[in-house]
Every structure is written in C-alpha cells, then in structure tokens.
C-alpha cells in the first residue's frame, strides 16, 4: 500500500471526535455559566465560573435519592442476573440432555420480544401484585428484561471450560452445586464481567420501565429523576446542563476507568458467534 500522509487522516478522526464529544463539552461549559451567559456565549468557556447550577440542581433534582435508587437497582439486578443466567447456562453447557438446545434458544430468543411490547401486561401484572411504584416491582421487571443475552454469554463462555475439570471434581465427591458455585463460576470471570457490564448499563440507562412503574419521586431512578427535573426547571438551562452532568457522571467515571472491559465486554457477546 502506498504510504499516505497521515495529517488528513488525523483531521478526519478529530472531526469525528468533535462530533461525538461536543454535546458533552457544551454541557460542561454551560453548567458553569449563569443562564444568561449560556445564551450570549454558547460555545466559549465561562467568563466567571459559578457552582450555583450544581448546588441547585443537586438539591432540587433529588439526585441523592436517585443515585441511591439507581445504584441499588443496578447492583441487585446485576447480581441476580449473574446468578440466574449462570445457573441456567451451567447445565446447558455441560450436560447433553434432550431439549438442551431447544431450551437454550427458547430463552435467548426472548431477546426478540421488545421491552415495549411486554410493558403493558407487565404493568398490570405488577399492579395486581401491588408492586407498582416499588423498587421491588421494577427489579422484577428488570430481571425479566435482562435475562436472554446474559444466558447466551454465559453459556458460550462456559462451553469453553473443559469438562475434565467437572469430572475430576465429581470424582472427588463434589456435588453439582459445589462444582458450579466454587469452580465453574469463578472460572467464568470474564463472562461474568461481560454480563455485569451489559446488564449494568442497560439497567442504569432504562427509562421506559422507570417511567411506567415508578410513580413517587422518592422511588425515582436517575433517568426518571432528570425528566422530572426537566419538567420543573426546563427553562433554567444552567440547571439542566448541571443535571445532565450529574446524570452521566457515575457511568462516565466507571467507563473511563474500565473502558477496555466495557468495549471488550459489550462486543464479546456479539463477536463470539
């Protein structure tokens, strides 16, 4: 291949970087300005940075509560999904029983059921169990939402673990649960990480279920809280910009630290055909 000048390539790459990052830049820059300045000086750095927007939107938006709710929900959903999906993947990956593939595709095909499609029945079901406007209710919905793909990921990975490991453990007299819990699962750490990231991201970002199932502000997750905040303070742009930063901050920090795992994790499931 002919060697070409890299400068135009860098130019293109940087243009795209700007395209993808400019809203974040605008949000950061605007969050330190008073509302009037956001209109007169939209793209420049703030003349006199203020913290007022952050202070106000933190208290008025109820972000503390929202962080807690989102955090608890995400962690619990991830924990439950990791356990459930690996539980189901374990026999599916090691035992040849009739209906094994059928069961596998049965569960994974669930991915093709759009969340919006099951929202309505789920809503009424939860309502009849009196679980609307409760974190437990939305937790159950999230578990159902997240089950198919993690099963796929876990089984794919577990299939690569040699069965001899199981065999030797059984010969030593271990029970299947022991083999699963103490041996296979720890060996599946990369897949568990993938599932955790996948599930965590989806749960953290979910808006549809939060909008429908959560009704009281004290139960709101972060996506729902920012919508509520917008309803009240939409015209105070400084607040909205600060609220945006609050909304994305936890995941952003997580992402910057673990970005390799993020990228690897989110594509591993797709690539491992």
């Amino acid at each position: 291949m002919r060697k070409i000048r890299l400068a135009p390539i860098y130019f293109v790459l940087i243009i795209f970087a700007i395209i993808f990052m400019f809203p974040l830049y605008w949000a950061i820059v605007s969050s330190f300005k008073m509302s009037g300045e956001i209109f007169t000086n939209p793209w420049g750095l703030p003349n006199k940075p203020v913290l007022d927007n952050y202070i106000k939107s933190w208290t008025l938006g109820g972000f503390f509560r929202a962080y807690i709710n989102s955090g608890i929900l995400t962690v619990s959903t991830v924990a439950i999904i990791v356990i459930l999906s690996s539980m189901v993947a374990y026999p599916l990956s090691r035992y040849n029983f009739r209906g094994r593939n059928g069961l596998f595709y049965f569960i994974v095909a669930g991915y093709m059921i759009p969340p919006i499609a099951i929202l309505i029945p789920l809503y009424f079901m939860l309502k009849s169990m009196n679980l609307i406007d409760s974190l437990l209710g939305i937790l159950l919905a999230y578990v159902g939402l997240n089950l198919p793909i993690p099963v796929f990921i876990m089984r794919s990975y577990m299939s690569t673990i040699p069965r001899e490991i199981d065999e030797s453990a059984y010969i030593d007299g271990a029970s299947p649960w022991y083999v699963f819990w103490r041996i296979i699962l720890p060996l599946s750490k990369p897949a568990v990480a993938t599932v955790a990231i996948w599930t965590g991201l989806i749960t953290w970002q979910d808006f549809l279920y939060a909008l429908t199932i959560l009704l009281s502000p004290e139960n709101f997750t972060v996506p729902r809280a920012i919508l509520n905040f917008y309803g009240m303070y939409a015209t105070i742009w400084g607040y909205i910009a600060a609220a945006f930063i609050f909304a994305i901050l936890p995941m952003q920090i997580f992402y910057l630290i673990f970005q390799r795992q993020f990228v690897r994790g989110l594509t591993a499931g797709a690539v491992r055909g």
Binding site: K127, P186, L215, S216
Partner: protein, 507 residues
Amino acid sequence: MEGRISRRKALSTIAKVGIAAGIGVVVGAVGGYLGGRVATPTVTKTETVTKAAATVTSTVTSTVTVTSPAGPATVTIPTTPTVAKAPLTLWHLWTEGSAQLDWLMTYVEKFNAENPRTYIKPVYVENEIFKRQIVTSMAAGNPPDIFHNWGGWMYLFRFAKEGKVVDLTPYMNDASPYIPGVPWKETFLPGRMAQVRFTDGKIYGVPLMLLFESIFFNRKLFEEYDIPMPRNEWTWDEFKQIIEEIKEKTAGKEIYPIALGNAVAWTGLIYYMYFVLRLAGADYVEKAMWDPSLRFDTDEFIQAGKLCQELVDIGAFNPGFNGLRDTDAAMLFANGQAFMEAIGTWIYGQALSYNQENPKYFDVVAWPHFPGEVDSVNLVGGGDAYAVAKTCKYPDDAVRFLQLFLSPESQKMLLFHCNVLPGIKTEYLGLTKDEEKQLSLLAKHEMELASQATYICNYWDQGLPPIITEAVLETMIALFGKTTTPEAVAKKLEDARQQWLKEAGII
C-alpha cells in the same frame, strides 16, 4: 494450585458478600415498597417501617414534598406525636418556591396547629403525572383525601358520577365560620360555582381561586416601540395590524409579536376556544354536551380554525412554537422577547421566576372583537379547586380546612402574595382602602374583566369528557402545525362529541 485456591477463596467470599448484599437489598426493597406507598393514611405502619430500613425506603419527610425543604415551611409532620393524629393527604401541583405553595403551607400549618384530631399532609405531584395518577388511584381505591382538580368533566365530574367524591352541598348551604351570615355557596363567584356543580345539582368541589385566560401584553415594549396599546374594545383587524407593525419594527431582532409554545396543545387551544366563544357564544360548548341538535362542525368552528391558521401564516408567533412548551413561551414573554401572549392569569407569578423586571409591565386585555359576534363579555377560565374523596375518614375536618383556606384572610393572601384572583366575590374580601391601593394595574384590570363576565367557559381540556379532550388536544397541535385543515378539525371534534353522546346515552 495455591494461587487458584486463594483466588477461589477470595471469589467465594466476594460471592457470599454479594449474596448477603443482594438479600439485604431485596429485603430493603420490600421495605421500600411498603414505605413508598404515598396515599394510604396508615400512619403508624409507614413510620415504623421506614425507620428500620432507612437507607432504601422513603422517609416520612419525603412524602411532604419532592424537594429538600428550603425552609421550615415544608416540615409539618410532628416527628413524635404525643397523640397519633390522623393524616389527611392533600395532592397539590405547586412547586417548591412558588407563591401558591407558600400560601398553602401557611394555612396547612395554621390548621395543623389548631386541630387536635387530624393534620393535613400535603404531597406535591407534577402536573402531567398527576393527571394520570389521580385517575389510577381513584380506580384503585386509595386516592388522597383532598385532591386538586379543575372542576368539570375530565376529573371532578367523572369521579362524582362514580360516587367517589364527597357531596359538599350540605356544607355549602350552611355558612362558613369565616364568613358568617350567608350560605357558603353564595360567597363564591357564580362563574366558578358553575364549574363545580354537577348535573345532579350537587356541589362537589370548592373553588380556590379564579384563573382565566386572555391576551396579556408587555406595556413597556409597546411604549418603547411606539405601537398602539391594546385596549378592551379592540377588533380583530386592529389586532392583526398591531402584529404587522410589531414585525416591522422588530425586524432582525429576536423579539416576536406573540409568544406561543404549542407542544402541549392547550396553549393553542386558547385561541380556538376564544374564537368559538366570540362567534358561537360562551356556553355553546357546555350546552352541546347535552343537546344533540348543536354541532361542532359548524361554520363558526371552521372559521375559528381558519383564524388560528391565519395567525400562523402572518408570522405572529415565535419560531419553533410547535416544539416548545408553555414554560418556554413564558420564558420568552418574561424576558421581553415577545410583546403578547395568550395565556392565563398565572403568567405573572410564572414569569417572575424567569425575570424580575419585565412582569411589572404586564397588563391584560379582552379578546379581540368580531363584527356580529355573539359574545362580547365572557371569559375562558376556571381555576384550581379542591375536592374531598369519599374514602376520607374525616370529611368534616377536611371541609373545615377548606373553609379556612377559603376565608377572606386567606383569599387576600392569595391576591396579594400570589397575585391570583380570589374565588370569592370581592364584596366578601373585606379590602381596606390601603389594600385597594396596593393592587397592581394588572390585578385591577383582571378583576374588571372578571366582574363583567356572567359565565366562565371552562377550559375544554379540563371541563369536557376525556374522549373530546383527546380529540381537542390532538387537533390543536395539527392545526397550528398546519398538517390538517380547519374543516378536518371541526369534523374530528364533532365525531368525538357524537361518541360522547352515544356513551352518555343521550342519543
């Protein structure tokens, strides 16, 4: 092998911790769900549960208002009641920092301090969410004891028909302790009373105030640009001329004749309602709810639609109005970027939160007149009302609170602190000469217009049955967005009305 054992051990302990955390979290979530139920008046239960699972569950204070209390006003619940007072939950729509909330809390605290048996527990619900939530909670059987509504069919009469609202007529026929000597119902503005009195003649709601919609304008801008000031007798042609003149004189600037944010539909609806009011009469729509011979697909309705689109065509509105909300339009109007806005009397308070200066120059004017119009004096309006749900265990106490809230002293606070017109007649307000002097020009003009009106047409999106409301809101967005014709709009409204008549058993 050692490495593997220690790693395994580490992972298993992590797993154990994770399971324990997971179980703890699920338990906490259950507790949270138990504590998170807002509307049920089971005081002791929620208090003990929430104290136990403090990190996850909603706390008692959070059921008072959404936002963290800025001052003492929001914390009204005694933390360790010596005698367990029963709470009366009250759902309201007033945000933190609003004047109306101050007003409400002043009288809530007064009532709570004086009342041995019950206390009012105000709960803030966001406007759009409230519309959904009040319906679902009424249906589920756990509504709040006292709830906000706008009178009319959409909510109050619907619930009244289902027998879910306390009939206030006996209370209304007696005198209120704060206005002795006259039946309570006589102290209210007649236009407002009509909106809370159901077809069975019974009164189900207590009007809190009068809000009406009309054209508001910024005197300062008109003076600055030397444009003839709107006046109550102005005609439609004069109105259009003023718009043209504004456009000429502000060319190139980001100042527009009229602020409008029609993504919410009811803002554009104001225009349509007033055109129909002028051309067909203020009570036409209410009568048409019962009279099959009156129709919505008449020339008057089509003309109303044409007039709306005419305003769009001559560029009377700020750009982007199809995608903006009422709050965005209020911001433009408050910041002096629009000369006029067709909006309600709440605009003064709303605009203050954007701009402290400009609202001082706000004024109100009657809707432009048409040659041969049917109605020249009436208004489109309504106002917040409170009603008491049948499930309330202490309706007498609830009514006593409402009587306090409607006392002359309270209504005066409404007028002076919130700049909202009272729901009781001026003669019962007991204004002193000094107080009269304090009234702003805007308030004086508003009261003038209100006193001229013999009938107040309730907002179509509050006062009419849901099936017509849907059609109305949808068509307004399409009408102003010019994706439909005035004829199609009129037809859609008439179709909806026909369906309502069928369902109501009238035809």
